[in-house]
């Protein structure tokens, strides 16, 4: 706005044709377009919200993680898969050590994830079955995982498999895992 006013004032002065004004305007425009194209997106898909369950066993808290570097030329499906895998791994590994959280049994791996529509399948390794007993840990672990996965855009349900197989429950367990889990299940 001030640029225009200033330039208008200057062009009123009778002198040689001034090419500086259009050049400056074009330059500003170019800078603006450049900034617009490269600006950090408000809801950058690189940032994922991961949840963990506090030691009360029920309260979930979010923390943000970033998956970098931004891959060039990946398909949306691939990028969605990468994000989902990273989110699942983060949720299973849990927040930094100085945050007190209910954690999955040590050594639990995320073998892979697969997205079908609004359901993501998270394939965990056998270590997840070594629960200490009791509903507390199972409930808190899967609650955090389900919250983390359903924080991904377009995901509303989480199907758990263990080493590729669907399990009705964990051995000696309490939670029903046969059907996809939703946030409303907790």
């Amino acid at each position: 706005m001030s640029e225009i006013r200033r330039s208008g004032h200057r062009s009123a002065a009778p002198s040689r044709p001034n090419y500086a004004i259009p050049i400056v305007v074009l330059l500003l425009l170019a800078i603006g377009v450049g900034w617009w194209l490269t600006r950090p997106h408000a809801a950058s898909p690189n940032t994922l919200t991961i949840y963990y369950t506090e030691m009360d066993g029920t309260t979930v808290k979010p923390w943000d993680v970033t998956l970098r570097p931004r891959p060039a030329g990946s398909t949306y499906a691939q990028w969605a898969h990468d994000r989902a895998l990273y989110a699942a791994l983060q949720a299973v590994v849990g927040p930094p050590a100085d945050i007190r959280a209910v954690r999955f049994p040590p050594g639990t791996r995320v073998n892979d994830v697969a997205i079908h529509g609004s359901t993501v399948t998270v394939d965990l390794s056998k270590e997840v079955e070594s629960q200490p007993g009791g509903t507390f840990g199972e409930n808190a672990e899967f609650k955090a995982l389900v919250y983390s996965m359903t924080a991904l855009p377009g995901i509303s349900a989480v199907q758990i498999t263990v080493d590729g197989a669907r399990l009705p429950t964990l051995p000696g367990g309490h939670l029903e895992l046969d059907e996809p889990l939703h946030r409303t299940d907790f």
């Binding site: 408000a42 919200t49 030691m55 009360d56 066993g57 309260t59 979930v60 808290k61 979010p62 923390w63 993680v65 970033t66 998956l67 970098r68 570097p69 891959p71 990468d82 895998l85 990273y86 791994l89 299973v92 590994v93 927040p95 930094p96 100085d98 945050i99 007190r100 040590p106 050594g107 791996r109 995320v110 073998n111 609004s118 200490p132 007993g133 009791g134 509903t135 507390f136 840990g137 409930n139 899967f142 609650k143 919250y147 359903t150 924080a151 855009p153 377009g154 509303s156 009705p168 429950t169 964990l170 000696g172 367990g173 309490h174 939670l175 029903e176 889990l181 946030r183 299940d185 907790f186």
Partner: protein, 667 residues
């Protein structure tokens, strides 16, 4: 002499092995040493002078195992994700030099590459991320595990010093006096060598020093006390850290302490959220965000009893009302975004909920409505990512949307149904919202209004789904399920098995209920499997539900004992799964909280098999934690188990009243 011969010979054999396996790498294969073991990597690549090691390398796999690290990658994947034992996730991207150690972006000398279906990582970068220090000297490069982090926190009740390292830490008390406590960490080095003055909570300073050789280091941690305090506890909270709690009190306590104390769980001082000051932290990681926001709507759902709940479990006939019908859901683009029109025949009350970023989800429940097969949700289009409609119970249709950002969503009922308008203009509001109303032509009858409860009072509360009426065929019957049993011991601590405790409490409960006039069936009366020994968990759990379902019982209560990997969690919780379980679970938990003297952990909704597959109101009582010493003492006390049985029986009475009179055939 013998030792050096052994070392040379082992190095020679490792070298020969490397030569045989990967001839091209043979000339460059250096020897490494970790925790006294010498090895060579066989899956190696060289770029410039940088060593890359394949993630399937056997020696690297062993190293990962020793460090408690897990690598996730498969051919075709872009990211190589390494979860360290810390735990921190290190993410390498194939072809990119930048990698992340938790929230920190770092650059490696060489980008990860893929050769022959295996990812190769810059080993220097990897070692750094894993908390290993490379010390090169002579023919062997030593990988020295590091103490990566020492935090000092003022927790109000006392100071806590926490050390973390690349491997699980064991602290050995080597010197103690009234003013100084020195602990040794054998096998670990550190770069955190310094004296840090603290001058708070009786802790004057923390000194860190290191002795020994590169291969056999020892790090000393000395706590300088001001004489008015002592080290009250030494223990690990998660198995990988060591915490020292400095509490006010005579230092004589320290002198009386055993010289080497096994790591034990600090339970007297449960860890509150760490106070960020004062902090002496030198770590790969910045301090955590102390002000993590809470997720309010979900927390409410999970933690708070719902304000209103319909009368449940009481045997009332289902109201006979004509249900409204959702005939169609149509999308229409408008100047400000997109509008979904929900065509309705008849009238239905509704309540809607809109969760803001990061969820960006909206759903509306139409109560007293059915979904016509013709009502197919439109395919998604910007800004809507997903539209779903389903019959969540016989009288409720839910329409749910996911949107691609923080958009305003408004609901306008009219005579033909209702409009859901999504405005694409970015919304400044950040609070989740909710609302209720009535849509459609017909006038909602009194019966309909009664059949379609909506959450009253607080509009942020999620309404309870209308109750599908359950009519017990035997309203005098209560089924008690003692958790686990037989081949499934449940949680076991110090030789005490959950299966035994639950059976004992169930028998006590049966006696009380029978005395009060109830008929009782137990899913097991001995320490046996209900279905079969070594059956699957599903067979076992379904067999228990079948007993209650087939008998048409009024209520099912499953008795369990909780446990966790450490002694921290304690208390009593009643879990439920279905809406009709909620009032029952609440009554049981209220009595337990009032009578048994454990911490009241409240009622918790979870996707638990037993209550989920029971037709009747059911709950699962986790009476106390076997893994907590105080709770353990209670669980092993018969008098306390009797209290639990009485409390559960009182909860049943609160919920169901007195048992109905027995039918006398002769009358």
């Amino acid at each position: 002499m013998n030792r050096s011969i052994a070392r040379i010979s082992s190095a020679f054999f490792a070298l020969c092995f490397a030569l045989l396996c990967v001839p091209r790498a043979a000339s460059a294969a250096p020897l490494w040493q970790f925790a006294g073991r010498t090895f060579a990597f066989t899956h190696v690549e060289k770029r410039a002078s940088t060593l890359l090691v394949g993630i399937d390398d056997p020696a690297l796999r062993r190293l990962f195992h020793a460090l408690g690290a897990i690598v996730t990658w498969k051919p075709g994947a872009r990211y190589v994700l390494v979860a360290t034992g810390e735990p921190t996730i290190v993410s390498f991207a194939i072809g990119h030099r930048t990698y992340d150690i938790g929230p920190l972006a770092v650059r490696s000398a060489v980008a990860p590459i893929v050769r022959g279906g295996e990812a190769y990582l810059d080993f220097d970068a990897l070692a750094r991320a894993l908390g290993l220090r490379k010390i090169t000297g002579g023919a062997v490069t030593i990988l020295q595990p590091q103490i990566t982090n020492i935090d000092v926190r003022d927790e109000g009740s006392g100071m806590r010093v926490i050390a973390r390292g690349a491997i699980p830490l064991q602290a050995r008390l080597v010197r103690e006096s009234a003013r100084q406590m020195t602990y040794a960490f054998v096998g670990l080095g550190t770069r955190l060598l310094r004296v840090r003055s603290v001058d708070a909570g009786g802790l004057v300073a923390v000194e860190i020093s290191q002795v020994g050789t590169a291969a056999h280091p020892t790090t000393y941690l000395t706590l300088d006390l001001d004489g008015s305090s002592h080290v009250a506890q030494v223990g690990s909270l998660d198995g990988r850290d060591i915490g020292f709690v400095i509490a006010p009190g005579a230092s004589a306590v320290a002198a009386a302490a055993p010289v080497v104390r096994a790591p034990q769980i600090a339970r007297a001082a449960p860890l509150a959220r760490p106070s960020p000051t004062p902090q002496v932290a030198v770590a790969l990681r910045p301090p955590p965000n102390a002000e993590l926001p809470t997720v309010s709507p979900w927390n409410r759902v999970a933690n708070e009893p719902l304000a209103t709940s319909p009368p449940v479990g009481e045997v009332t006939p289902a109201p006979l009302v004509a249900l409204a019908r959702v005939d169609a859901i149509q999308a229409q683009l408008t100047s400000s975004g997109i509008t979904l029109h929900v065509a309705l025949t008849g009238a239905a009350s509704f309540d809607w909920h809109h969760l803001r970023a990061p969820d960006n989800r909206f759903w509306i429940d139409l109560h007293g409505a059915t979904l016509a097969p013709t009502a197919i949700p439109p395919s998604a289009g910007v800004p809507i990512e997903d539209v779903r409609a389903h019959q969540i119970d016989p009288q409720t249709v839910r329409i749910a949307l996911s949107v691609d950002g923080a958009h305003d969503i408004s609901v306008t009922p009219d005579a033909t149904g209702l409009d859901i308008a999504v405005n694409t203009a970015p919304s400044l509001a950040d609070a989740s919202t909710a609302g209720t109303g009535v849509a459609g032509t017909g006038t909602p009858s009194v019966a309909l209004a009664a059949a379609a409860p909506v959450a009253g009072g607080d509009p942020n509360l999620w309404s309870v789904n209308p109750v599908a009426a359950y009519v017990p065929t035997n309203p005098r019957l209560i089924v008690i399920d003692p958790g686990h049993g037989g081949s499934d011991r449940g949680a076991v601590r110090h030789g005490v098995a959950e299966a035994v405790l639950t059976l004992d409490m169930a028998k006590r409960l049966r006696a009380i209920l029978e005395a009060r006039g109830w008929q009782v069936i137990m899913t097991r009366t001995k320490d046996v499997d209900v279905y079969a020994p070594y059956d699957t968990a599903e067979q076992e759990l379904q067999a228990r539900d079948n007993i209650a379902n087939r008998a048409g019982a009024r209520l099912l209560v499953s008795i369990h004992v909780n446990a966790y990997i450490n002694a921290g969690p304690n208390g009593t919780t009643t879990y439920y799964a279905k809406p009709i379980d909620l009032p029952f679970a609440r009554d049981v938990q209220n009595e337990l909280a009032a009578q048994v003297g454990t911490k009241n952990d409240g009622i918790v909704k979870s996707h638990l098999y037993i209550p989920l597959h029971a037709f009747m109101p059911a709950c699962l009582v986790e009476t106390a934690f076997l893994s907590n010493p105080d709770d353990f003492a209670l669980l092993t006390d018969p008098a306390w188990r009797q209290k639990v049985a009485v409390a559960i029986a009182d909860g049943i009475t609160d919920y169901a009243g007195a048992p109905p009179p027995a039918i006398q055939p002769q009358q």
